[in-house]
């Protein structure tokens, strides 16, 4: 994780002022909000499709959709897309390890069918 920070050093330190300019504006924000709403509606909608929820595509679809929402909020509302690389490292590093940990825990407890 820490290694990533060397990059943040190479990166020419921007002043907070510079950030503010990079911040997206109302135009972006409303589109983001719209997309988020649409995806949420979509998620709930497929929840009510009995002949879809029974298929093995149901869970992956939901996971993808929420992953997309997650990413959008992080990139635009938390303006990680525009901000210093350091912040990206501080967030994505731990997030990745955490996700790996969750997955391996589910394996170990036999939820992902690695052992009966």
């Amino acid at each position: 994780m820490a290694a990533d920070h060397s990059s943040s050093d190479a990166h020419t330190a921007p002043t907070p002022h510079a950030h503010e300019e990079h911040h997206p504006d109302w135009g972006t924000y409303k589109w983001v909000a719209l997309i988020l709403t649409v995806i949420t509606v979509g998620e709930v909608w497929i929840y009510y499709l009995p002949n879809f929820t029974s298929t093995r595509f149901f869970v992956p679809t939901l996971l993808t959709l929420s992953a997309v929402k997650f990413a959008i909020v992080v990139m635009f509302y938390m303006h990680l897309k525009y901000d210093a690389k350091l912040f990206r490292a501080l967030f994505t590093g731990p997030l990745t390890i955490a996700i790996i940990a969750v997955i391996s825990l589910l394996f170990l407890f036999g939820h992902l069918a690695i052992r009966a």
């Binding site: 943040s8 394996f107 690695i114 052992r115």
Partner: protein, 619 residues
């Protein structure tokens, strides 16, 4: 480079500090907080050591009956908990506090008041857990408190409550400190000190902070579950409700293994500072040392289940965790070889600090080797929960962490106190520790291979364990004696020790450019760094071999004179920590809501007034 050094005037004895209890309660100075951590940890070291002596006395011969079995279980539980959370971690924290700002050329940490808060919370937590002794209800389920032994049906008393709440409080302290030092190291480095110019101790501390802030939330959750089970009747570990005891084990070790590296990496850092100075050679393969540290930390999150090879996770999981564990052996080995490389071809001066540093290299190797033996599940099946494991982790934590921390204590004592520690007594301390340590823990390898289970309050005769237990106990007494010599030396040298001057060792990093002890503002002018070893660049090729005579008495200018804005002293962190503790006390005393709310209110109110007051007087 002249700008690197403060005005070349040096204090004899301590620079001007205000004294008195209040000045300590209200301090936000990282150097004072560092010392608070240091002395608190040393006090707990005495207590934890005393617990160990009782344990060894009970086990001297078969069927020992010095203490009751219940008391024995409390003793080994508290010995482990104390040594890990109240000795090794805070001793490391003492060095983080004292050294990091000095090493990176900063005037203080990023959040001085949060720093004070961390200390007071730590003090509260450690006291909280040990108060249990007064109620004859000390925690008694082992330092990793496996459920369901800790759940209400099997632990009705308050013992486990003390343990849980104590851990929770200590965890908060570590987390707060973690964020603080992360920010400090990222953001307060002196101009020119890029990451690859950072002193190696600061680097290892940096890695440790990541482990802290990522691992502690996990134990916080695991402990919270157990608290809820005990206080509000939830079912997280309630066997009757179908709970799975392995949940606790996985969460605990998911924290617990990174915790192992939290305990060892700072010591590695200290030794990596000490060895080069007394070899008069730069650290061998600095970049590799840095990357191996990062790698160890990263892999540290992927090996936790090797503590659980006996629970029957199945062959696939066993194999995976076995291999990841072996992988972690590689960067660790690299560190050992790089230390050897540092000494190789050097000009070694065997000061006490150096001796302890070398001891770490030699003894940690043994712990590492037995560690590799455990990484193989079939072999581990015979060794886990036996005395072989006890031997292993004492070689890692005593032979590793503590040796490194002692090296650091002797090395930085002059910087902290302005005087040198007595080398002759130091030598006695070292040799007795070294001999006692090996006498105590090496026979435990044999005890384990001879089938002696861990955590037994007493064993039967004719098991073939008597001789090795005799030796181990005698070793423990020698260790006790060594420790007393250390404390005597420590306090004696404060008055009698020769005056150190700025740089008694001929070291290379920024902290040695300023007076000992440093002025409250550390650096009169913030230094500009152009290399990894600024002092060696500044000085003639010959680093000073022997401690230099102290410079003629002069006065270090005060912050006011230099016009350096200093934080206003405040007791708010102390009060906030107090409120927090009161709240938790309310929780343990039969969920006494008034006390709970009183504490919480105090905490929140203080926090507000703290956050809404600027750190320094407006200018």
């Amino acid at each position: 480079m002249a700008t690197t050094v403060a005005a070349p005037r040096h204090a004899v004895g301590p620079a001007r500090y205000e004294s008195g209890i209040w000045s300590w309660l209200a301090t936000t100075d990282h150097k004072r907080i560092g010392q608070l951590y240091l002395y608190t940890a040393l006090a707990w070291f005495l207590i934890g050591g005393f617990e160990a002596e009782i344990i060894r006395t009970q086990l001297y011969g078969p069927n020992g009956r010095l203490v009751s079995f219940e008391t024995y279980n409390q003793l080994f539980t508290m010995h482990g908990t104390t040594m890990i959370f109240m000795v090794v971690m805070p001793l490391s924290a003492a060095f983080f506090n004292y050294l990091i700002p000095l090493q990176i050329g900063a005037r203080d940490v990023a959040f001085p008041r949060l720093n004070a808060f961390s200390y007071w919370v730590f003090l509260a937590g450690s006291l909280f857990m040990n108060v249990s002794w007064l109620f004859r209800a000390a925690p008694d389920a082992g330092w990793f408190g496996y459920a369901p032994l800790t759940t209400p049906p099997y632990a009705p008393g308050p013992n486990i409550d003390f343990w849980l709440i104590g851990l929770q409080i200590l965890g908060l302290s570590s987390l707060a400190a973690g964020f603080n030092f992360l920010t400090t190291i990222i953001n307060l480095r002196a101009p020119g000190m890029n990451l690859m110019r950072m002193p190696i101790f600061t680097w290892m501390s940096f890695v440790t902070q990541f482990l802290l802030v990522l691992a502690f939330p996990i134990i916080t959750v695991a402990v919270t579950f157990l608290m809820f089970d005990r206080f509000f009747g939830t079912n997280f570990y309630e066997v009757a409700a179908g709970a799975d005891p392995l949940l606790w084990q996985h969460l605990f070790w998911l924290f617990g293994h990174p915790e192992v590296y939290i305990l060892i990496l700072p010591a590695f850092g200290l030794v990596s500072e000490v060895l080069p100075v007394f070899s008069r050679k730069p650290l061998f393969g600095y970049p590799v040392m840095v990357y191996s540290g990062i790698l160890i930390a990263f892999l540290g999150f992927g090996v936790w289940a090797h503590h659980m090879f006996a629970v029957g996770m199945g062959p696939i999981a066993d194999s995976i965790f076995s291999i990841t564990t072996m992988l972690i052996g590689i960067p660790t080995g690299v560190k050992i070889f790089n230390w050897l490389g540092t000494m190789w071809g050097g000009s070694l001066r065997f000061t006490t600090a150096m001796k302890f540093g070398i001891a770490l290299v030699g003894l940690f190797t043994i712990g590492g080797i037995s560690g590799v033996m455990h990484s193989s599940p079939p072999s581990d099946l015979q060794q886990t929960d036996s005395y072989f494991i006890v031997a292993h982790f004492h070689y890692v934590l005593f032979g590793g962490s503590l040796m490194g921390l002692f090296a650091g204590l002797y090395f930085f004592y002059p910087k902290i106190t302005g005087r040198l520690m007595d080398e002759r007594l130091g030598s006695w301390h070292f040799w007795l520790t070294f001999i006692g340590m090996n006498l105590t823990f090496f026979p435990m390898h044999f005890l384990g291979l001879d089938g002696m289970p861990r955590r037994i309050a007493s064993y039967d005769a004719n098991q073939g364990w008597d001789m090795n237990n005799h030796i181990a106990t005698i070793g423990a007494y020698i260790l006790g004696a060594a420790t007393l010599i250390f404390f005597y030396n420590w306090f004696r040298s404060m008055r009698r020790g020769p005056v150190a001057g700025n740089d008694p060792w001929g070291a290379a990093t920024l902290e040695w450019t300023i007076s000992s002890p440093p002025p409250v503002y550390n650096f009169a002018t913030v230094p500009t760094v152009t290399s990894r070893y600024p002092l060696w660049d500044m000085k003639s090729a010959q680093p000073a071999a022997a401690p230099r005579p102290a410079q003629p008495a002069g006065r270090v200018p005060t912050a006011e004179e230099l016009g350096i804005p200093m934080p206003t002293p405040t007791v708010k962190p102390f009060v906030a920590a107090l409120g927090l503790t009161i709240a938790f006390t309310g929780l343990i005393s039969h969920k006494n809501l008034p006390i709970l709310f009183l504490g919480a209110a105090t905490f929140v109110a203080t926090l507000y007034s703290w956050l809404l007051t600027p750190l320094e007087p407006e200018h």
